[in-house]
């Protein structure tokens, strides 16, 4: 099995430890990663999509064609990349005018968008292609005895029509929960599970309002689950939960800290990865919880 790794911006520049986690976990599970060399930004929402539909799709399409040429699907760990690439694909696949305009643009660089590669989110890919049971068999460490709270991430769920890997009910998502349970964790339910974390455009526009949202989520998690760890399904959510806590503590908005890791980081640890390489850039201390995982 082989897939193309779409690494995007935030993962490569902000949290390359998450990139390393993917680079460790996929091969450890027998899946080869192709680097999709020459890939660019997805492009993300505040840029090309906010300017023009065809321009957005054209930049996305160039990325799609790199995977298509190799006959590979695209996997990513970032919600924005997943959402933008899946939506641009949906637009081109369902609207022949957009597709034709895009291909007119791509002609100049000798490329053509065909629509043959799927866009997948890393943990959904593993869930569907390997399944929790096969992943369980490969584990060197487990999360037994640890309680986690989940942050699935908006773009992993909606709009469900554009995604290849769908939740049965995107307002009651199950995949990330089942994957964490496969690692041995107890997954606690809290009321604000599907709320937005406030990262992205909202944080760029108004940081205080954005932090209000993540504060509401953190309080709901703390009161209802009291987790040892927050597990996210999206790199942007990871960055928001990881960096906002210190800020909120300094402003006396919260009086606790909860370590945060992306699911792929937790999986990589459980498969035997080097802890510094796959979690070394966390701002909120993950040391004690990583010790517990490695002891499990």
């Amino acid at each position: 099995m082989k897939v193309g790794f779409f690494v995007g911006c935030n993962t490569s520049f902000n949290r390359p430890d998450l990139e390393q986690a993917v680079r460790y976990a996929f091969p450890a599970l027998g899946i080869e990663l192709d680097n999709l060399e020459g890939q660019s930004c997805c492009p993300s929402w505040g840029t090309m999509p906010s300017v023009d539909v065809v321009g957005w799709c054209a930049v996305g399409a160039r990325n799609h064609t790199i995977a298509e040429e190799k006959g590979l699907d695209i996997v990513t760990v970032c919600g924005s990349c997943y959402g933008s690439l899946a939506e641009s694909k949906y637009k081109m696949d369902t609207n022949s005018e957009i597709k034709a305009s895009v291909n007119e643009i791509l002609k100049e660089i000798g490329r053509e968008y065909k629509g043959t590669s799927k866009v997948r989110l890393a943990h959904y890919y593993l869930y569907h292609e390997l399944g929790p049971e096969r992943i369980k068999e490969a584990l060197k460490h487990r999360l037994d005895g640890l309680t986690v709270a989940l942050q699935p991430g908006c773009h992993t769920l909606w709009p469900s029509k554009v995604y290849y890997d769908k939740e049965e009910d995107p307002f009651h998502p199950k995949v990330l929960k089942e994957m964490c349970e496969a690692l041995g964790a107890t997954v606690g339910h809290y009321t604000r599970l599907i709320d937005c974390c406030g990262m992205g455009a909202m944080r760029s526009t108004d940081m205080e309002k954005s932090f209000n949202l993540v504060q509401k989520k953190l309080l709901s998690m703390k009161e209802e689950v009291n987790p040892d760890l927050i597990v996210t399904g999206c790199s942007s959510c990871l960055i928001q939960f990881d960096t906002a806590q210190e800020f909120l503590r300094n402003g006396k908005k919260i009086n606790f800290q909860i370590p945060v890791l992306h699911f792929m980081q937790v999986l990589a640890l459980c498969l035997g990865a080097d802890r510094e390489q796959v979690t070394g850039l966390a701002k909120t201390d993950v040391g004690p919880v990583v010790n517990r995982i490695l002891a499990g």
Binding site: S50, L157, T205
Partner: protein, 190 residues
């Protein structure tokens, strides 16, 4: 809409711009007129929870009333998370998120876009990444990765390709960012 009107909550409908509806439909918000203002989208929108004044339903209402300036004067449309909760729940398939995007496209045509978006677009053109951290090489090396990812930043031919694509899009026609060869790349976090 003037500040007095905002303060008193009075909207002078005779000042509304009837052309705004057509502009939105042309720029991607084709289903605008299907909206029945039921507010299902608003009930799901994180912008409402966070306290922004113009969220999906209200943006649509303002467009239908032609309140172009009120929307351009407010930063709310730029806070939309692109989360698509609204698109998922709308019973009329209005695609409210697409309407917010279309309103951003209107704003951009009037050069009413946030500095961060301009920087993101420039960074996308210069490096291939809207979010780019010039000093990330050492962070990457610290966790055992090559200093540059396998993207346009490590591949000049791919970057040229991307730039050739972007030069054929509306972004080039609008002239929002310089597209010459000599640009220096700085850090950009959108």
């Amino acid at each position: 809409m003037s500040n007095v009107q905002v303060a008193t909550g009075v909207i002078n409908l005779s000042e509304g711009d009837p052309g705004l509806v057509d502009e939105i439909k042309e720029l991607g918000g084709e289903e605008l007129l299907e909206c029945i203002q039921c507010a299902k989208c608003a009930a799901a929108c994180p912008m409402v929870l966070a306290g922004f004044s113009f969220f999906n339903k209200r943006v649509i209402q303002a467009i239908l009333l032609g309140l172009r300036d009120a929307l351009l004067d407010d930063s709310s449309i730029w806070a939309c998370q692109s989360c698509n909760r609204c698109t998922e729940v709308c019973p009329r398939e209005v695609n409210p998120f697409e309407i917010i995007q279309a309103m951003r496209r209107v704003a951009i045509r009037e050069f009413a876009l946030p500095t961060l978006s301009i920087e993101g677009l420039k960074s996308l053109y210069d490096t291939g990444h809207a979010v780019y951290l010039a000093g990330a090489g050492s962070t990457r090396a610290k966790v055992g990765l090559p200093e540059k990812p396998y993207s346009t930043v490590a591949n000049p031919k791919a970057l040229k390709e991307l730039q050739a694509v972007i030069r054929q899009t509306a972004l080039a026609d609008l002239g929002i960012i310089p597209m010459d060869e000599s640009d220096v790349t700085e850090t950009c976090e959108v």
